[in-house]
Amino acid sequence: MMLFETTDLTYSYDRVTALDRLNLSIAEGSRVALVGANGSGKSTLLRILDGLNFGQSGTVRFRGEPMTEAHFASDEFAFSFRRQVGLVFQNPDVQLFNPTVFDEVAFGPLQLGWSKSEVRDRVGETLDRFGIAHLKDRVPHRLSGGEKKRVALASVLVTDPAVLLLDEPTAALDPRSQSQVIDLLVEWGGGAKSVITATHNLADLEDIADRCLVLDGGLVVAEAAPAEILRNRELLERSNLIHAHRHHHRSGELHSHPHVHPSE
């Protein structure tokens, strides 16, 4: 049985069609990267996969069960789904809505009905693991971008979801923080979990994914192993993931080649 399966999924905002009859299936235990340029519909898709938005037409299934608003109206389904699936939002200011870091990380477990002592223990542990224990009593507002991102990750991973949806986990991070976050994720997954990551950062692709879906204009335009995608220059250029980069050589000759921004 597939973990997620969409058929002809369409989602439009007011005037913009963000997803246009999208079909995809993601297997249990796989690590998938969604790559695509700005506005290609990555965030929209992740929100739909997390049962937050619902498409206007088409279907989405989670382990064979249809994900509709009616299903989520039942507490039982909603809780069991939320226990298994976690989403880290693109904008940490949206994700960090609690007044302190500690409360932020404790929010999820408390909502899922853990006992208070269990919550305290787990939150402490998670803060340590993410190296943010010293930020415990800080207000999220005053954290740096990288710290915010780490708190956001911790606040989702604290409940140890089996399925993790990540919306640009390394965006706005300096190179060192980027690799730290990637390490955390790689270590955390341990191979047993399903991870779906949206990104337009091609440099980490092979670390975070076994399979890669290229989104363009609300459609999956390609699907392959990361190495293969990275080799397909024409596809990447067409999907605006790379651009030609011109520079002068000392000899005076103008040279142009496709170019990837490793830390975007």
Binding site: Y13, N53, Q90, N91
Partner: protein, 395 residues
């Protein structure tokens, strides 16, 4: 506008807090019903917004500056009930963390600004904008006047609360314990500032932002726009709980007592310049052993409450102050009752529920055929376009 600690007696504060509680209760239930679980983030964010715009320094004609409270805006965008909660939250935060407005006066400030203000603003807006198109200039004018009316009604209420203090609370020598000014001074003094500066600031922000939203985000104005029909009626109804509450306060608290004719409220303006009259008043006021000289009306009212107590009861139970406290409590009780009755009446009325709501998330999208879809749909659009206006920082 924010009443600090020390201006109102604890009894007045308690009474107004008691008067505010039923409104909060009804508002919470109502907003919860309309918004389900969205209540928490919406009220929080709007409270934060209203807090921040209070810091905006608004230049006004004549070289002065003022700041708006955002009551009019809250009522126009959120509807009266959610607006009540949002502005109350902002007031609590201001009192607790920024020392703006007293802690003991939280109930009074919420009653004046958040509750009375929101109801008045909403009623005025609905009345004046009835039937107007979303983009029409009439809505701008209506919003401006709604803000203006709201802030002035709040100021009037505050002035009345100030004005009854010297009437009721004095020490043995006759010095007022709390706000020293009677109604005849407090009302003109407060209203002068609010009819001009503060009122104009509120008017500018309400009208200006509604005009801004008409161009940038018209769907945000949809939820309180209602349909063309029966608008006047709804607006009048919006004020009903307020009138009921105020009515009860009027009858049962010293304001009503004042109306029955007391000398004390009047000494300031008239007799200040006349030394003979001053002497007379002073004599009649202070050469008394009683800690509190009750005006005639108060004495009469308090007797109703204190009479049942036997003569061997402790003396304070038979005192006029105790009578006043009891009548205050009774007044608050009546407000509760009135509100519950009013809530019942409204509970049966569907139009109300839809008016107090706000943009809903996409997750609440329902099939177009289902019941109140029109409103929900427009709310949906509202959120969508709200998102479109400002860009997420971390893309």
């Amino acid at each position: 506008m924010h009443i600090p600690d020390g201006y109102l007696s604890p009894a007045t504060c308690a009474t107004l807090f008691g008067g505010a509680v039923p409104f909060w209760y009804v508002a919470l239930r109502r907003v919860r019903k309309a918004l389900h679980t969205r209540l928490v983030p919406l009220v929080s964010l709007f409270a934060a917004f209203s807090f921040v715009i209070m810091m905006f320094n608004l230049p006004l004609p004549g070289g002065t500056t003022g700041h708006a409270v955002g009551i009019g805006l809250a009522a126009v965008v959120l509807g009266p009930w959610a607006a009540m909660l949002a502005v109350s939250t902002a007031i609590v935060i201001q009192a607790l963390f920024f020392g703006d407005g007293g802690i003991t006066a939280i109930g009074a400030n919420c009653f004046n600004m958040a509750i009375a203000g929101a109801l008045v603003a909403y009623a005025v807006y609905r009345l004046l904008a009835a039937g107007a198109a979303i983009g029409s200039a009439r809505r701008v004018v209506a919003a401006g006047l709604a803000g203006y009316a709201a802030i002035n009604v709040s100021a009037l209420l505050a002035a009345i609360e100030f004005g009854i203090q010297p009437l009721l609370y004095r020490n043995a020598a006759g010095a007022p314990l709390y706000c020293p000014y009677s109604l005849s001074v407090a009302i003109p003094a407060m209203m002068l500032g609010h009819l001009t500066v503060a009122g104009f600031a509120e008017l500018t922000i309400s009208a200006g932002v509604v005009g801004f939203l008409q161009r940038s985000d018209p769907s945000l104005l949809q939820s309180t726009a209602g349909r063309a029909a029966a608008l006047g009626e709804t607006a009048a109804r919006a004020l009903r709980p307020l009138w009921a509450g105020l009515g009860a306060l009027l009858i049962l608290t010293p304001l009503g007592i004042l109306a029955t004719g007391s000398a004390w409220g009047e000494w300031m303006a008239r007799d200040f310049s006349d030394p003979a009259a001053r002497h007379e008043i002073a004599a009649s006021s202070f050469h008394r052993a009683a800690p509190l000289r009750a005006p005639e009306g108060l004495a009469r009212w308090s007797q109703i409450w204190t009479a049942p107590f036997a003569h061997y009861a402790p003396p304070y139970i038979r005192s006029a102050t105790f009578g006043y406290l009891l009548s205050g409590m009774f007044g608050a009780g009546l407000i509760v009752l009135a509100c519950l009755v009013v809530a019942r009446l409204f509970g049966a009325n569907r139009t109300w529920r839809t008016h107090s709501c706000m943009p809903r998330p996409h997750s609440c999208r329902r099939p177009a055929s289902a019941g109140p879809a029109g409103v929900e749909k427009s709310l949906d659009t509202a959120r969508t376009s709200a998102c479109a206006t400002s860009k997420e920082p971390a893309t």
